[in-house]
Amino acid sequence: MLHIYCPYCEEYREEEEFHPHGQAHIVRPLAPESLTDEEWSQYLFFRKNPRGLHHEMWVHAAGCRKFFNMTRHTVTYKILETYKMGQQPSITAEDTQ
């Protein structure tokens, strides 16, 4: 069972209260109608699948029901940080190389 720090409830909670929601920091194109099919499909369907640090979105489903971001290692499952929506990660893959 993972212990996850909710940046909104400001405490650690059990994994059972959370759901993962995929890759974080995906920006919705401001003018989708001006995109090519390839650009639109990149936005809709293509996701990173790194071996190592990954920035993900999670939701505190049984708690405050807020989405937040997490930097997690996909091999060790180690959670390096969680941070609020709109914030940037303080740890990135480049830092650890």
Binding site: C9, E11, G63, C64, R65
Partner: protein, 199 residues
Amino acid sequence: MSNIVNVQSPLYHADFESLASVTKEGGVSLREAKLLGHLNLRGNSDSPEFKNGVEKALGLTLPLTPCTSLQNDDATIMWLSPDEWLIIVEGGQEATVEETLRANITGHFAVSDISGGQTILEISGPDCIKVMQKSTGYDFHLKQFPVGKVIGTAFAKSSTYIRRTSYDSFQLVVRRSFADYFWLWLQQSSKEYGLRITL
């Protein structure tokens, strides 16, 4: 056609009135705080109009510290999330309180009467902490879970808000459709300590 609506608690079928007269002993006491007024409030806590409006309407400060609650004689307000609160008032007062909130808050906010959608179970007694510990993974030590704290968590796999009202008493805010499930769960998990129904 009659205009009178008979409001029923989601646990009316459990007949707590009869059970209260036959269950006199037990380490766990259960009471339904039924048919109270539940108002869901949403707004931006950074906005002074919102914060001051709520304060003026309820005579209570808006709790901004995560997982805290405040109460006076008329209302309890629980922090649910950075922009969401639950206000509990006496049953029948919810429409008036909703109006008062609307009259006092300006700007962008939402207040919804959800009284019919949920109920409150009050669990207390010397063994109630053991029942709580069986049902959720949260730490019930007073240091982690002081009196007045309210947490949204999974209780017996269903989402609920738990508020500690004293060392050994808790309120569970449960959804109406889950009330019977909670009732069954609490009977089962308190069996070994004895369950007493109070009114």
